[in-house]
């Protein structure tokens, strides 16, 4: 009796167990729903902005209410000149979310393309992409962005470009790893043997299988970019005043911290919950698609 038989038997049992587990017997994940709900809420409120009855003009000053804590009139309190912090968070959220969205899209598009090509074509393309990745990993991300923004001026465009420069290699790395795995699978090899054109293998076979990774990491990247942009504006290096972002509200609040702690903690909490939700959704998607994190 050879060793193959029990192995095969074991494999079939394992396969049976997998189909068993895959049956829709999943419990409702309330935290996941809450996270998605929070993200939807934040996006909708920030998009609608002034159209909503409870959002005031973020720059309107109220001499009667200076540096006040949260109240019914001002949900998140007021700033040093009596501006409504809640409205500032809503309007500032637009810029923060826009930067996050734009960078994620650019990162996914360019980083994804680089990673796909590197992982699929291998050879010199892969070598070049790998060098780019390891070089950018060696430069502290924030430092690079600060450098670029300092040189090019603090405009929305520069901030987006600078932060994208970080997102692209990071995503390229992940997509490259995932592509390498997919390209090694039998159906891709079979397509190659059958003489299918490279481009069509890439689009029809590889890309759909890399998509789950890409989508999951899109959420995680969004969270990281949001933190990066807020850190920049917190340091006063992002889009210049009077444009408001979440980070700049916090940076403003910390100056007279004892008087306006609500300007740090409440926008901070909104930022934290948003990043937490993004991370959670990304993490859950990774789990559902059964993607093993490549270590980093």
């Amino acid at each position: 009796m050879t060793n193959v038989a029990p192995d095969m038997a074991r494999a079939s049992v394992a396969a049976a167990a997998i189909t068993e587990a895959a049956r829709p017997k999943r419990k409702v994940n309330w935290v996941f729903r809450f996270a998605v709900g929070w993200l939807a809420l934040v996006v909708v409120i920030c998009m609608l902005g002034e159209l909503l009855p409870f959002v005031k003009d973020p720059n309107e000053r109220d001499a009667q209410a200076i540096s006040q804590g949260p109240s019914w009139d001002h949900w998140f309190g007021t700033a040093s000149f009596g501006q409504d912090v809640f409205s500032r968070v809503v309007i500032g959220g637009r810029i923060s979310l826009f930067v996050g969205f734009a960078v994620t899209v650019i990162g996914i598009a360019l980083g994804g393309l680089l990673g796909l090509l590197a992982g699929f074509l291998r050879g010199w393309v892969d070598a070049v992409v790998r060098v780019i990745i390891s070089v950018t990993l060696a430069i502290p991300a924030l430092l690079l962005v600060i450098f670029i923004v300092a040189i090019q001026g603090q405009s929305l465009r520069t901030v987006i470009i600078a932060v994208s420069l970080l997102a692209i290699p990071a995503l390229a790395r992940i997509v490259r790893g995932s592509t390498l795995q997919v390209a090694d699978r039998d159906f891709v090899k079979a397509a190659k043997v059958l003489g299918v054109k490279k481009l069509s293998i890439l689009v029809r076979e590889v890309l759909p299988n890399v998509m789950p990774t890409l989508v999951s990491f899109a959420f995680l990247t969004f969270g990281i970019v949001l933190v990066a942009e807020s850190s920049l504006s917190f340091l006063g290096l992002s889009v210049e005043a009077p444009t408001i972002t979440w980070g700049s509200i916090i940076g403003e609040g910390r100056i007279k911290f004892a008087e306006t702690p609500h300007m740090v903690f409440l926008p901070g909490a909104v930022l934290f919950l948003t990043v937490l939700s993004l991370n959670f959704v990304g993490d859950q998607l990774l789990k559902r698609f059964d993607i093993k994190e490549s270590g980093i």
Binding site: M1, P6, A9, R10, V13, A17, K25
Partner: protein
């Protein structure tokens, strides 16, 4: 066999269940067994028959989602009644285990020496020097050349057969009286298999150990064990001395197993008979005999009533309503052959068998 002294191992009505997301699996279903001192027994069964779970349960290696009922006594001590202090130095000392795959059963980042000596230092409170000396002796006993050098090597520097010898030496470190070998040769080359089995035999004789040999291969069990137990779907189907089992088997499953494996005694071109069908779904075990659906003897009774493991004559036990080699069994088989189908719905014509 070992009636005069305390048996080395007494297992009474052992049941092991696993809670899985899909439901509860009963992996071991009421196994009772007695093993005398210096006796060896082989447990034979196909994959998923519960033999490995049975072996692991004996040495207290139950996975987190498993629960056990029934009693296990090793050397007369009920393992559930050990005090915390006794328990600490019980497994690994009284009973030890050799695992299936020597490639994975050694820690890749620890030196052979450290892995060999750690149990001795922990259980027997030996000093480093003493443990090292003894480990070298153990390696010599399992016929590993230049043992001093091996002590300083890492597992990846050794061949598969060599590693399995190390695993055996490791199991022997605290001089256990009961050795459980779970498919010790399955992962090895055929040429090495025999050497390892011979080694186990010799060591058992030298050290007066009792041995439980778990295997899926009746050929391995033959001639290596005093008694053989055949396990199927978590139950013992037949338990007899090795000679009896081969010469005078009672259970249709044992017969089917033997008919399905090639043997050198067979004339060339002898047709092998695979067992039709698949092992039962352990999530929804059949009400009656677990083998009924695949059995050529199956009668309505078999589908409804679970047969108990009963002693027929002189230490030969089997769990079957219509055993092979008895008039009931022959009658049952004849009835099924005339009908062309068993009571469990298994077609009996030879042509169908080929395509299973």
């Amino acid at each position: 066999m070992a009636a005069t002294t305390t048996p080395m191992l007494e297992v009474d009505d052992l049941r092991v269940r696993f809670a899985t997301p899909a439901g509860t699996i009963t992996a071991v279903d009421g196994v009772s067994l007695t093993l005398g001192e210096r006796e060896s027994i082989a447990i034979v069964g196909e994959s998923g028959s519960g033999k490995s779970v049975f072996a692991r349960t004996l040495i207290n290696l139950l996975a987190g989602n498993g629960t056990r009922t029934g009693t296990i006594k090793i050397g007369g001590r009920d393992i559930d009644e050990l005090s915390t202090a006794e328990r600490k130095h019980f497994f690994g000392v009284q009973a030890a285990m050799v695992f299936q795959d020597p490639m994975t059963s050694l820690n890749p980042v620890k030196r052979i020496g450290a892995q060999l000596t750690e149990a001795m230092r922990y259980h027997l409170k030996m000093g480093k020097e003493e443990a090292n000396d003894r480990a070298v002796g153990l390696l010599r006993q399992v016929h590993i050349p230049s043992p001093e050098k091996r002590m300083r090597q890492y597992p990846h520097e050794l061949s598969g057969g060599m590693r399995q010898r190390v695993v055996i030496a490791m199991a022997l470190a605290c001089e256990p009286r009961l050795l459980i070998a779970d498919e010790p040769t399955t992962a090895l080359d055929v040429t090495v298999q025999k050497a390892i089995l011979d080694l186990l035999d010799d060591l058992r004789a030298e050290r007066n150990m009792s041995l439980i040999l778990i295997t899926h291969d009746l050929g391995v069990a033959e001639g290596r064990a005093d008694r053989i137990g055949v396990m199927y779907a978590g139950r013992l189907m037949e338990l007899a001395t090795a000679k009896d089992l081969f010469a005078d088997m009672r259970h249709p499953y044992t017969q089917a197993l033997l008919r399905s494996i090639p043997s050198t005694d067979m004339a060339s071109h002898t047709r092998l008979h695979p067992i039709p069908g698949r092992p039962p779904d352990l999530l929804n075990p059949p009400q009656g005999c677990a083998f009924a659906a695949r059995c050529r003897h199956a009668q309505p009774e078999c589908v409804d009533i679970k047969p108990n493991l009963l002693e027929s004559s002189g230490d030969h036990w089997y769990a079957c309503h219509f055993p092979v080699g008895t008039s009931e069994g022959r009658a049952a088989l004849e009835r099924n052959e005339t009908a062309g189908v068993t009571a469990a719905g298994l077609p009996l014509d030879e042509a169908a068998e080929e395509f299973v």
